[in-house]
Symmetry: C2
Subunit: 335 residues, 2 copies
């Protein structure tokens, strides 16, 4: 292959075949993908209900501490399936390349996709590649769409009841803060890495809760604040957070202060929020902590009806403030 990607690699002809054959297939090779038909034929999942999720990834820069756009593109989609109660099984992979991107960068990203898919135990079964002119994209955009098998049915914000407890599986704001820092070379040595990780093993720990697990979500774009607002809006319920209980790494807090960010609004790519019945909250925390991704799990709030439809944060000084949904673009192109 050439050292940089040219438009010819997007023609659908010989060069495209070269890109697929030399760079993509060896990384993902499996019998389904190897067929290279227009569609992948999947094994029957005898009468199972399926979960489907899609995400496009446009993060800049495409390499950052703790990950890259490839790792992110697998985690993002398998995590959406996992928090929906599904066991991720298959992924499609569609790549838009900007003419001029170094082939080595693409190779590294592809390797990262393959490694993460293996770790997440999903197979990449079908794909697509396009190349657009220099200046009409930004290096690489990736879409993954996943299919999983529903293992934990009934999860929904509609299942949330007054008195329920809100859990988070670990520290918040790592990914968003990391990517913002990665855009500024002077700040790169902060030691902050993205928390980007596949989370099915984590979500699986909560399966014993049955319907006492009301809902799970991974608070990516818009952060914890936005996701919790999606739970309460249009309902008579309030989520009251205890500010001191929300785990935030010291370095993330410092960097956020410098950058003018609020960790509650910063994207996470390796965390879940879970709302559980109060009598199962301790058990749920114990379960989450049985896997590495959940070791810092904490109860951060409770469902009340004090401010219907709102999310409020109780400060350590006895005050409280309403936490609205992210309104503008605090963190564009974070995922």
């Amino acid at each position: 292959m050439d050292d940089i990607i040219t438009l010819a690699y997007g023609s659908g002809g010989k060069k495209t075949a070269e890109l697929i054959g030399e760079l993509l297939l060896p990384a993902f090779g499996n019998d389904i993908l190897g067929e290279l038909g227009d569609g992948a034929i999947l094994p029957a999942e005898a009468g199972e209900r399926l979960v489907m999720s899609t995400d496009s990834f446009v993060v800049t820069p495409y390499f950052f501490p703790g990950g890259d756009i490839g790792k992110l593109s697998v985690c993002g989609t398998v995590n959406d399936i996992a928090v929906s109660g599904g066991e991720p099984k298959y992924l499609s992979l569609a790549v838009i390349l900007e003419e001029g991107i170094p082939t080595e960068d693409v190779r590294r990203i592809v390797r990262s996709i393959a490694d993460t898919a293996k770790r997440a135990r999903v197979r990449i079964v079908t794909g697509d590649t396009k190349v657009v002119e220099h200046g009409k994209a930004d290096g690489i955009f990736i879409n993954t769409t996943g299919i999983g098998v529903l293992r934990h049915p009934g999860l929904s914000p509609k299942a949330i009841r007054e008195g329920d407890v809100v859990l988070v599986s670990g520290t918040v704001g790592d990914h968003g803060t990391c990517v913002m820092l990665a855009r500024n070379e002077n700040l790169l040595r902060s030691g902050i890495a993205s928390d980007c990780a596949p989370l099915f093993e984590l979500t699986k720990t909560l399966r014993p809760l049955g319907t006492d697990l009301r809902v799970m979500r991974d608070p990516t774009r818009g952060g914890v604040a936005t996701t919790l607002n999606e739970f309460t809006e249009g309902t008579g319920l309030t989520i009251e957070l205890d500010e001191t209980a929300i785990p935030v790494k010291k370095e993330v807090r410092s960097a956020s202060d410098i950058l003018g960010l609020d960790p509650l609004y910063s994207a996470n790519e390796g965390k879940i929020l879970a709302v559980v019945a109060p009598e199962r909250a301790d058990e749920a925390l114990r379960l989450l902590r049985t896997v590495p991704e959940g070791k810092d799990a904490a109860a951060i709030g409770r469902v009340t009806s004090s401010h219907p439809g709102k999310v409020v944060v109780r400060t350590p000084y006895g005050g409280s403030r309403i936490v609205i949904k992210l309104a503008g673009a605090q963190l564009p192109r974070i995922c």
Copy 2:
């Protein structure tokens, strides 16, 4: 909503909710999508085998005679499922918007997606939107990923046998030629429109053939020449085309001559190639012609072993030439 799309619409917060709630949901509203979870939970397809396919669309211009990027993004994916022997059922929809694209353009494209999905009888069940800075994309890029239920198993280029007949469902080169013309305002009045159409009803007509239908493909990027090469390469078989039998619209041929294109390499978005057992060829043509999309169906060639691995075209003057795969970028960003 604002008249143009700004970065704030990609924040994941209020503006994103506005984009989804005002522009996307009303167009596609169905009970699965309406749940707006991270993943869509699909009804069980009792023990059926599934077909999955993905495609990103980067066509420029995004409006062209006979269609637009929205229509294309539905047809492209449902057709890949259809030619794989599947009945398309569900689509995911992921949109990357360039800051500054007129909201009205997005609205028109979304309407087109909704109309085409309805016509193709697929439901859009999950989605994603991203916004990137002006100059980091080109108006709009769309990814759709589809799931279908396998209805016609066993289709594969490996099933092709010597003596088989190659059929095409209609005129070739319409889409590619149309888009190339659309890039040049002076040539717009050519009357050539994209053939972009959902093809499940067409592929379904061939179901009675069973294993006598060897393989189907929709010759999109790279055209008929490239798709047929994919059938023969690495095998001992040859596809011999009869040049006079290949249906090409007169105006497409004229425009191709002016633009220096070969209709055999131009993308089609509403045509299939089918390889069938010789004794069923007439029946297959009759079946294809029972639906409007197949009215110009023709037998265009035969499988031999004269030039192993190659595709050759017999000219009306008794000569022949080898038709290789598209090597460069004859038609960048045609889909």
